[in-house]
Amino acid sequence: MNTPSTLLQVRNLRVDVGERNVLKSVSLDVAPGALVVLMGANGSGKSTLGLALAGHPSYRVVSGQAQFDGQDLLAMNAQERARAGLFLSFQVPPDIPGVKNNLFIRSALNAVREARGQVPLDAFDFLASARTAAQQLGLPEAMLGRPVNEGFSGGERKRNELLQLALLQPRLALLDEIDSGMDVDGVRAVVQLVQNLRAQGTAFVVVSHYLQLIESLEPDTVLRLDQGCIAESGDLELARRIARTGYAHAAEAVGA
């Protein structure tokens, strides 16, 4: 079961949101250290896949299986999945008024560390590593003392997701349009961080519409999602073709 070749194995996943069926049947394999790019038109189900895998209570898995590191992912609640090493970067990260960013991230990190059997970090040790990570990502240190995402610009919120990714060091990171709202330096920071973590074995599923980012990430696989199904699977060439001709054309070509 616990083969080193697959970290995440998804089979025929069907997901409803409220009364609406969004994912029809999705199957997917992600190996440790691999990078999968997920493309698809708006509403094709990309964000739904991430939220369902992360265990959002409004995204109901109707049928199908998902194994994470040999464990039944769907039997775990949201926080258990996170502690097992699954990280989702939100397309629109919410704010938490009055809660300082460093307290929030330290609480998260210590919850994850506890699950790994590591001792919790105290405020000082945490701050030291958070400062280093922030510096590497080009984040102002002051951001650690501000309330979580409160009054942050879209780009700042995304950088804050990156900071959490860097500190939590998950085994699998689902990045949902991490580049949207970010400036050039921000996108460069994404690429740098993904490369570093990938070298340590972290796997990625990246949702993006931005070819330049996708090329820089050197994906192993590119998937196109269409109406809740994986419509096409390929490599960088597929991403380039979609960037050239668009999703509508891609759908016609396959349908033909």
């Binding site: 992360a54 265990g55 959002h56 209570p57 409004s58 609640n77 949201a78 926080q79 999945r81 996170a82 502690r83 990280f87 989702l88 939100f90 990260p93 919410p94 704010d95 938490i96 008024p97 009055g98 809660v99 307290l103 929030f104 991230i105 609480s107 998260a108 990190l109 919850a111 994850v112 699950a115 309330p147 979580v148 959490q164 939590l168």
Partner: protein, 484 residues
């Protein structure tokens, strides 16, 4: 012979008690239930009070008999039979408490553990009969010596009546008149004990004064009376209460707190109230009906109330400031939590009388379970209060679908140059915020505590630091089981 004054009713009742098999010296321990002039005389006599105080109590009793309990609150209160209550019991012998922690309600002990109350303190809070009162005795003593050096008086109310009767006579009832309201009148007639603080001119009190350290605080809770006087240019910070729930068999608490700040004096009064709130079904719990008021008597005087109210089945409490001195200022910072079937009707009154008087109100109400939480605040600007200003920020946080939050702001401005600002928000702990925390590995309970802590941050910052940490832990414990 004072015993000859005893009315037949009282003797009858005493006999009644005796027939039930009590062999203790009733005269020195407790009065029978019921309240009339004889009860008040007996209380005063037991406490060996000067005549002015007895007369004052009797006047208060006469007023109380003409008053009705307030009906304007958003509270459901079971009728209280005031003639069935007992109005005096001397501090209990330690023998009456549980003999060891093994005899204490395990749920209470569990809460102490969660709050991180040190082991030796747990026993004291739970009312365990122990011979030595631990370190607090020595803490209390060194404390008192240090205060005496700078002329600060910090004692029990009874002690002050004995040693500073002139101050008591001058200030008692000067801020909360005996007939102010039903419960204040009741307290004025029968108050048992409480705290007294006097800060001389120009003195900055060298430490936070805490009723927690006052050893004689046992069993004085029901009708407690506190009086704090800050002379010109003095500063004092007073902490009341304790974050750990205290064992208490009294159902009704009707305390009165009076603060007097003269020219340039600062008084900061912080409360953490965590009386027994009743169980998950709403059975039992303390009725906490308190009148707290501060008077900025002098120019540039400043009074700030900060309260964290998590306990009691019902809380009815409006710490207020009368801004009489020109350029004086008042603040009210409040966190009120109501979970399960708790009810809170709390807020403040800011009465602007002097010129250039300013007040600020920050209220954070949290409701969970089936609880109801009301903010009730009044800002009054008198004709004499030129250039007065108030800002009110009133936020409510709802956890779950069955609770309620209500806001009743009253503004009464007699001047057109008054600037009165009111801002109110109501939010829920949104699923998105909760999921965000959970996706980062944080359990729902911890996430709720984080979110609530953030919501309350502006008020928690007003508390002395150590207290703020305890209060945060207390918020988490109070809301346990509210989410997830």
């Amino acid at each position: 012979m004072q015993t000859t004054e005893q009315a037949p009713a009282l003797n009858q009742a005493l006999d009644g008690l005796y027939r039930h098999g009590f062999v203790t010296d009733i005269e020195s321990d407790a009065l029978p239930p019921g309240l009339d002039e004889d009860t008040v005389r007996a209380i005063s006599r037991k406490k060996r009070e000067p005549d002015f105080l007895l007369q004052w109590r009797l006047k208060a009793l006469a007023l109380w008999q003409t008053l009705e309990p307030p009906q304007w609150t958003h509270l459901r209160i079971n009728p209280i039979d005031f003639q069935a209550l007992c109005y005096y019991s001397a501090p209990k012998s330690l023998k009456d408490g549980p003999k060891s922690l093994a005899e204490v309600d395990p749920k209470l002990l569990e809460t102490y553990e969660k709050l991180g109350v040190p082991l030796h303190e747990r026993a004291r809070l739970a009312g365990v009969a122990v011979d030595a009162v631990f370190d607090s005795v020595s803490v209390g003593t060194t404390f008192r010596e240090q205060l005496a050096k700078v002329g600060v008086v910090f004692s029990s109310f009874s002690h002050a009546v004995e040693h500073h009767p002139e101050l008591i006579e001058r200030y008692l009832g000067s801020v909360v008149p005996m007939g102010d309201n039903f419960y204040a009148a009741l307290n004025s007639a029968v108050f048992s004990d409480g705290s007294f603080v006097y800060i001389p001119k120009g003195v900055r009190c060298p430490m936070e004064l805490s009723s927690y350290f006052r050893i004689n605080a046992r069993n004085t809770g029901q009708f407690e009376r506190t009086l704090i006087i800050a002379e010109e240019g003095s500063h004092v910070s007073y902490l009341e209460g304790c974050t750990a729930p205290q064992r208490d068999e009294n159902q009704l608490h009707a305390a009165v707190v009076e603060l007097v700040a003269h020219d340039d004096a600062h008084i900061k009064y912080s409360t953490v109230q965590n009386w027994y709130p009743g169980d998950e079904q709403g059975r039992g719990g303390i009725y906490n009906f308190v009148t707290k008021r501060g008077l900025c008597a002098g120019q540039r005087a400043h009074i700030a109330w900060t309260q964290v109210e998590t306990g009691s089945a019902i809380t009815w409490k409006y710490p207020s400031v009368v801004l009489r001195g020109d350029d004086s200022s008042g603040e009210f910072h409040s966190i009120a939590v109501a979970n399960h079937f708790q009810q809170a009707d709390t807020g403040t009154k800011m009465i602007h009388l002097g010129r250039n008087t300013k007040s600020r109100i920050v209220s954070k109400g949290i409701s969970a379970g089936h609880a109801h939480n009301s903010y009730r605040g009044q800002v009054r600007v008198a004709r004499t209060a030129a250039n007065a200003g108030n800002t009110t920020q009133c936020d409510s946080l709802l956890i779950g679908p069955n609770c309620g939050a209500h806001t009743y702001p009253y503004v009464d401005a007699a001047r057109s140059d008054a600037v009165v600002e009111h801002e109110a928000t109501t939010t829920r702990i949104s699923e998105e915020r909760l999921f965000y925390c959970r996706q980062r590995g944080i359990a729902p309970q911890d996430a709720t505590a984080l979110i609530v802590g953030g919501f309350c941050q502006a008020v928690l910052e007003e508390l002395p630091m150590e207290f703020a940490l305890e209060a945060k832990a207390l918020l988490a414990v109070s809301l346990e089981g509210a989410v997830g």
